[in-house]
């Protein structure tokens, strides 16, 4: 299609001694890992944006991000009191239980629900700025981490008011296991956001499906009720509930946070899910990463 006779080469560049193209390089594991690595290197960017998201939400309000803490406190105390009456549980044990359950659930649900929209909601940035896709995912999980840290203030208040020195909970060294538990949880937040993000960008029905499933799973996860009160009644119900992956993550982090005994099988399940999930997410990253900017 070039004009015959008028073809003049672009200054220093030539087409004829154009180096041979590299082997086909779109769908490789290397590119998927490269995306993760380069995204991580831009931590100043997503770190700043994650903060910005939070400040943004409470801009011009007098209390600012303290509202995160306050609304969590109100929900946890309100529902904790209500359900402790319903299940006739004792408040010093049950209130911290519900609080921590809510804090962990908020993190999990935030990663899953917003993860489905992670690329769709960043359409403008994806189409105009060539940044690794992982930047958007890191930003999302970082924002959820910041929410979590704000909510931890409620947890600290609960520990102060109802210290874990009763029958089911004590101050003990295994409480430190909350730190690795949270890291595992955050790692899962990353793969979930990648996987659901890519699929949702292609199929726009996924986010509402995920939204309603998450609402249902909230009730299937021991947050306002306790697994042991159920398992005392029927073994079958407990076995069915154990199929809910969120149950294991909530239990894994909540037990050390409350100073309760750690049940290791939740850690095993969570660990398996982490590995399988990451393999799946990397597979999707490998095959569809380059398609996301076409799909958004």
């Amino acid at each position: 299609m070039r004009h015959a006779g008028t073809l003049v080469r672009v200054s220093t560049s030539t087409i004829d001694d154009h180096a041979a193209p590299p082997a086909h390089t779109h769908r490789t594991w290397g590119k998927a890992f490269d995306d993760l690595r380069r995204g991580w290197q831009q931590k100043e960017l997503w770190g700043h944006l994650g903060w910005q998201d939070i400040k943004q939400r409470y801009r011009r309000s007098v209390l600012g991000p303290i509202w995160i803490t306050l609304s969590m406190a109100v929900t946890a105390v309100g529902l904790g009191l209500l359900y402790s009456q319903l299940f006739s549980a004792d408040i010093p044990n049950f209130l911290p239980y519900v609080t921590v359950g809510f804090i962990v659930w908020n993190f999990v649900a935030g990663c899953v629900n917003e993860g489905a929209e992670v690329f769709i909601s960043n359409e403008g940035l994806i189409k105009f700025l060539p940044s690794p896709l992982s930047v958007h995912v890191y930003r999302l999980v970082w924002r959820q981490v910041l929410f979590f840290l704000h909510n931890l203030l409620v947890w600290i208040a609960m520990l102060a008011i109802f210290p874990p020195d009763g029958v089911v909970a004590h101050w003990k060294l295994t409480m430190l296991m909350a730190i690795p538990a949270f890291i595992i949880l955050a790692l899962n937040g990353l793969w979930v956001a990648f996987l659901t993000g890519v699929i949702s960008t292609r199929f726009r029905d996924i986010p509402p499906i995920i939204g309603s499933v998450m609402q249902l799973l909230f009730f299937g996860t021991p947050i306002v009720w306790e697994l042991k009160t159920l398992s005392e009644r029927t073994q079958i119900t407990k076995d069915v509930l154990e199929l809910n992956p969120f149950l294991h993550f909530v239990e894994m982090l909540r037990q050390p946070m409350l100073g309760r005994d750690i049940i290791w099988h939740h850690w095993v399940v969570a660990g398996i899910i982490t590995v399988v999930g990451w393999v799946l997410a990397l597979l999707f990253m490998r095959n569809y990463r380059a398609r996301v900017s076409y799909w958004v």
């Binding site: 779109h26 700043h48 105009f128 292609r202 199929f203 029905d205 799909w295």
Partner: protein, 263 residues
């Protein structure tokens, strides 16, 4: 050394309407067997068989009618779109300036926007802090910089955005047109900064309809037509064919002197 190489690259956009993008069709479609050709998602071929090799020091202008593929080519060169067929290799840090508004948040102050915009363009926090004063001085926004961006007029926003964009040190600079909406006096100032920026950058690709800007910033031109490269070569040759007349013919003497060309 910065460079961009593209081999036989095509960019094709799948067009999902609300129905084909949904799961329903994908799932039910499999179960119900094929119904004619509507299984296939229609595709728009925005770029076809692009071959390019751009080296350090190249200053390339992109011309072509609306929809000829200039912006898509810029996005291919920036790495936003990986070619659906063919290959592209980009070596160097890309600073894309496609839309002055992207990454700007109306609710936060001018200062904060400078920071975010800079981070998006690949600068670090520290580098941006060093440049804030320079940007403030250039944009002449004064105390407005601590006001939220939504209080700015369009022209003021462009000033801010141009200030940030022209303060960075890009390796690969990709400019799309749309640098307007500023008063003439300011444009004169921006032009100098833009030229400085181009000098600092290792490689420039600039899509524009303005002959004058092309002549000032570029030394060669690619003419895009219907998603393909119709012609590429020196600025004067390509523009002469593209416009049907020598673009340097009617330029006033002082402009010619500035560009360093003769009639």
């Amino acid at each position: 050394m910065v460079s961009i190489d593209v081999w036989n690259a095509s960019v094709e956009f799948p067009i999902f309407d609300a129905k084909t993008r949904s799961l329903k069709k994908a799932v039910l479609g499999k179960a119900g067997g094929k119904i004619g050709t509507d299984q296939k998602v229609p595709v728009i071929e925005a770029l076809r068989d692009i071959n390019l090799s751009i080296q350090h020091g190249d200053r390339i202008g992109l011309v072509g009618h609306n929809g000829a593929g200039k912006s898509t080519l810029l996005r291919l060169l920036s790495g936003i779109y990986e070619p659906t067929r063919g290959d592209a290799r980009i070596i160097g840090r890309v600073a894309p300036v496609f839309d002055l508004g992207v990454g700007m948040d109306p609710e936060i102050s001018g200062y904060e926007n400078i920071m975010i915009r800079g981070l998006f363009l690949g600068m670090s926090r520290r580098e941006m802090l060093k440049r804030v004063n320079d940007i403030a001085e250039f944009s002449e926004l004064g105390n407005y910089l601590s006001m939220p961006l939504r209080t700015y007029s369009t022209g003021m926003r462009v000033r801010l955005a141009l200030g940030v964009v022209t303060s960075i040190d890009p390796e690969i600079l990709l400019l799309d047109e749309g640098i307007g909406a500023v008063d003439a006096e300011f444009m004169e100032k921006a032009r100098d900064r833009l030229k400085d920026l181009v000098k600092r950058s290792g490689l420039l690709v600039f899509a524009s309809h303005s002959d004058e800007l092309l002549m000032e910033l570029c030394n060669s031109v690619i003419w895009m037509d219907r998603g393909q490269i119709k012609m590429q070569g020196s600025l004067r040759d390509v523009l002469t064919v593209y416009k049907g007349r020598d673009p340097f013919e009617n330029l006033p003497q002082h402009v010619l002197e500035r560009i360093g060309e003769s009639r």
